[in-house]
């Protein structure tokens, strides 16, 4: 349908009306430019927030014990709640359909040494599942496993930063070496990387929780239980959280509403909240963007209307020579699409260029990083432009098709 002739037609009319075409095109280009900038900024905001969520499964639930804040069954406020292995085992039995579960002990910073290198690192005893719950990436070796737990093995999984601090110079191979943690020797079996934003989380040492309980405090105390909800639906996940809360508050005799005694952080709730926020922002941006583009489209339509008026005689001649109404509509619509698509494309490229500039030169912050317009947006914008061009050309095109040759060709 796009024959060379039609390109020539479009080219010749555009050439005759350079300024007019430029101004019309500009309004469309501006609309697309703004849409891309807005969508890119929205994406930047989203990336910033998502970055904050890194380092921990988005379907994770973290349960910590604290101090009671509500009176319950005659017991006063301020009672310290302590979890034990029993609680962990109880949750394993009762939480319906959880995916992974791990208990953790908080042991704070411990003096750790390898040969003459010393450092203070956060010691974090846990179960094997924690490596996945925390979304750790193993750089070398392995994470804590079930045999470690069962046999109370003295093994350690260290962060890359820990390795860098303790293994210096030529002595760089850490796997198999023994670290001295608080006077106890642990063999390094793995090195992990944590993509969390916080530097502290890279300076951790994970050891089997059973070993830690036996070696360091001889108790069955734990500080935190975390689990993931797998691919469960929102209701199922909520149900798991509620079961965990009920089970634990019953066992420790605390008010189920006491969120200080048993603190539950359901990450998926936060994720969900932000997802809703961002879909709201995105919708808002599309509404503004499309509004701007509509303004451009009305401009194009207006110009095409004038063009049709100016070309009345030409269209009359064409009709006398055998042009069908459809061919006349196509003539106008195609011109409209070409102007819209060409101008819009320039807007698209400029918008992406500006986003690229911002993304390169603006230091990433906690709330805004890597503004970008992806292929989907570009594709969506292209479709939008073609539709917009068609709509803009349709009414003038119909008007052109309605021109009566005898009126157009009247000599006076």
């Amino acid at each position: 349908m796009f024959e060379l002739d039609q390109w020539q037609e479009i080219y010749s009319t555009v050439k005759k009306n350079k300024l007019r075409t430029f101004l019309t095109g500009f309004s469309v280009a501006w609309g697309i430019f703004m849409l891309i900038i807005l969508l890119g900024s929205g994406k930047g905001l989203e990336n910033g927030i998502q970055w904050n969520f890194k380092g921990g499964a988005t379907n994770g639930v973290w349960i910590s014990s604290g101090v009671t804040n509500l009176q319950y069954k005659g017991m006063k406020i301020g009672r310290q709640i302590r979890f034990t292995n029993e609680d962990y085992n109880l949750l394993k039995k009762t939480v319906p359909g959880y995916d992974l579960m791990s208990a953790r002990l908080f042991m704070g910073n411990n003096l750790t040494s390898y040969k003459n290198n010393y450092g203070n690192f956060f010691l974090s005893p846990c179960h094997p599942d924690y490596g996945i719950i925390k979304e750790l990436t193993m750089v070398q070796g392995r994470f804590v496993n079930n045999i470690d737990i069962h046999d109370f093995r003295k093994v350690a999984v260290i962060g890359e930063k820990v390795k860098a601090a303790l293994f210096k110079g030529t002595d760089t191979a850490a796997i198999g070496k023994y670290l001295n943690i608080n006077g106890v020797l642990f063999q390094v079996v793995g090195i992990f990387r944590d993509f969390s934003r916080s530097d502290n989380e890279q300076q951790r040492i994970y050891i089997p929780i059973s070993t830690a309980q036996r070696v360091f405090n001889g108790n069955n105390v734990i500080n935190q239980i975390s689990f993931t909800t797998g691919s469960a639906s929102q209701e199922q996940a909520d149900k798991m959280v509620n079961v965990a809360r009920t089970v634990l508050s019953t066992k420790h005799v605390v008010d189920p509403k006491d969120d200080r005694a048993i603190e539950i952080w359901n990450k998926s709730e936060d994720v969900r909240r932000f997802a809703a926020l961002f879909s709201g922002i995105r919708l808002f941006i599309w509404i503004i963007g499309i509004g701007t583009i509509i303004a451009g489209v009305v401009g194009v339509s207006n110009i095409m209307m004038i063009a049709v008026k100016e070309r009345t005689k030409e269209i009359g001649i064409r009709k006398a020579l055998g042009a069908t109404p459809v061919s006349i509509v196509m003539l106008i619509v195609q011109e409209s699409i070409v102007i819209t698509a060409f101008a819009g494309y320039i807007g698209l490229v400029m918008g992406i260029g500006v986003l690229e500039l911002i993304s390169r030169n603006l230091p990433p912050s906690e709330f805004f990083r890597n503004p970008e317009a992806n292929l989907g947006i570009a594709f969506g914008a292209t479709v939008l432009l073609i539709v917009a061009g068609t709509v803009a050309g349709l009414i003038p095109g119909m008007k052109a098709a309605g021109i009566k040759p005898i009126e157009a060709l009247r000599d006076e």
């Binding site: 010749s12 064409r318 020579l321 055998g322 069908t324 098709a401 005898i406």
Partner: protein
Amino acid sequence: MISIRNIHKSYLNGQNSLHVLKGIDLDVAAGDMISVMGASGSGKSTLLNILGILDTYDQGEYILGGVKIKRLNERKAAQLRNRMLGFVFQSFNLISFKNAMENVAMPLYYQHVKRKKRNLIALEYLDKMGIREWAHHLPNELSGGQKQRVAIARALITQPKVILADEPTGALDSVTSLEVMDQLHEINKSGITMIIVTHEHDIAARTRKTIRITDGLITDIVEN
């Protein structure tokens, strides 16, 4: 070739209805060459428009080359115009941003003839009209006579059955007028029916038959 019976046409002008054609009967044999004369407002242009399927009629019957022309949709009308008729206008009606060859080729474009082929055919017709060397000039670089020759070439390119010429010499000087008339005669000799609307007697005198229209009716038919 053309047969019209009792054609009536009125134009609504606000509340008033203007009765322009009041029952026209006319037969034009294939290969004939006739002229239509009449004062302005007599209805001769309306008749030409109806013959050219550019306008509709209210009453009567019009048969063009065996096809009944009545209540055609626009697409069908456009196709009939394209295949059966050629138009020559007083003011040439060439498309200003297309050169002579492209103007001539235009009707073939609407027959979906490929660009190269239709331009070749257009050159052939320009050659026949004796203005091949002007093929790549825009209309505003041509003289009146040259423009009208381009227009005639354009009317001929689809090999129509009938050529309708509305004051073809109206904008030309007398010498050029004669040359154009000679060419129209040549075309008529090749068998194409020709209807010329004019108000110049010497032009009318060069056709085979002159039809005079007065006040919406044929009042006189003169064999020249």
